[in-house]
């Protein structure tokens, strides 16, 4: 509090340039890495973890492979987000879509005390395809001969989610999670007229990333050309909170005194 009380006559016109939030939405506990069970109708609520078949340490493909050392534990070291992601898009049907591309770096500990670092989806492959020996993990997420869509869900509120794989040539570079929702989900609801504002911008916050990794059982997986390899089945699932705000630029005029 200053000693002298400033008179209203000392006030001046101050122009403030700021961002006005039109609407925001916080999605809590969003499952961004999951797997639909083959042959089952996707459940809008229940999410199944992705089953990863991690090749045992020391097991080599062959007609009767050695068991090697199974996986003891799996930890997520890093979730690397691709440059320029996540991003927001207004779709042709006036919905908002958050697109998020990432890769996962896992630290795998084996029963024999060995450790390995695995990067997904770069070292991921469909069962029966060893990808020239570079694959360390098999998963039914990938179905050879189909498109890159691996999981998708939709609920009654008009929210739809999709998990796909991004490839550059023969290399799988990232997982892409997309969440599409109507503008009525924003708080307050955003009108279609607001979307015409040329200064419309968005900010996306990813927070509270957490995962579950459960070692399930040993599994002899097909490795192609009549060969097999011993793996350990691990269930892995990923959650995080996603917050999005939509705003426009505003010039605001106020009467007052600046402290600067």
């Amino acid at each position: 509090m200053t000693d002298a009380v400033n008179s209203v006559y000392d006030w001046q016109r101050i122009e403030i340039y700021t961002k006005q939030i039109l609407g925001k939405k916080a999605f809590r506990d969003v499952c961004v890495f999951w797997q639909n069970r083959p042959g089952e109708q996707p459940d809008p609520v229940i999410r199944h973890p992705v089953r990863l078949y991690i090749i045992n340490d020391g097991s080599c493909p062959g007609p009767s492979p050695s068991a090697g050392s199974p996986v003891k534990s799996v930890r997520l070291c890093k979730r690397a987000v691709m440059p320029d992601y996540p991003k927001n898009t207004i779709t042709g049907s006036r919905k908002s879509r958050i697109t998020h591309r990432f890769s996962l770096v896992l630290l795998v500990e084996y029963e024999n005390g060995e450790f390995k670092v695995i990067t997904l989806p770069r070292q991921l492959s469909a069962p029966g395809f060893s990808r020239g020996g570079s694959a360390m993990v098999f998963s039914e997420l990938i179905s050879p001969g189909t498109d890159n869509t691996v999981s998708q869900n939709r609920n009654d509120a008009g929210l739809s989610e999709k998990l796909t794989l991004v490839a550059e040539g023969n290399i799988l570079t990232a997982f892409e999670y997309a969440l599409t929702f109507p503008l009525s989900v924003f708080e307050p609801e955003i009108s279609p007229i607001d979307l015409e504002n040329p200064t419309l911008q968005s900010i996306i916050l990813l927070s509270n990333l957490r995962y579950e990794a459960d070692v399930v059982e040993p599994y002899m997986a097909p490795a192609g050309e009549g060969q097999f390899v011993w793996t350990t089945a691990v269930d892995f699932i990923l959650y995080e909170d996603i917050t999005i705000k939509l705003g426009i630029e505003q010039d605001i005029l106020v009467q007052g005194l600046s402290e600067g």
Partner: protein, 103 residues
């Protein structure tokens, strides 16, 4: 459940990209979904009309606003140029005198 510290990410403010209105996102027409197609929020016709004519409506609204502003200005100018009451009284008196003389 294991947390991963230091994983919070903020994109900062970025311009929102707009998808072509004629392009329907694949996830909205995915054939593999068994839950059925999503219910439209509006009647198809009204939605289509709104999407097609929204820029035109906005443009027209802006024109109407400009017209209102110019009309207001016109009214203000007219009030400014309106003759005073004294002037009107004088004119009426002159007219009355003129009529009496003729009678």
């Amino acid at each position: 459940m294991n947390g991963l510290s230091g994983s919070d990410i903020s994109t900062g403010w970025k311009p929102v990209s707009h998808e072509d209105e004629n392009v329907t996102p694949p996830e909205e027409t995915a054939p593999g979904l068994q839950s059925g197609p999503e219910k439209p929020e509006q009647a198809p016709d009204s939605g289509a009309i709104m999407e097609q004519t929204l820029p035109e409506i906005l443009k027209r609204l802006d024109e109407i606003r400009q017209e209102i502003i110019s009309l207001r200005q016109l009214v203000t100018d007219m009030e400014f140029c309106e003759p005073s009451r004294d002037m009107l009284r004088r004119r009426r008196k002159l007219r009355k005198r003129y009529f009496f003389k003729n009678d």
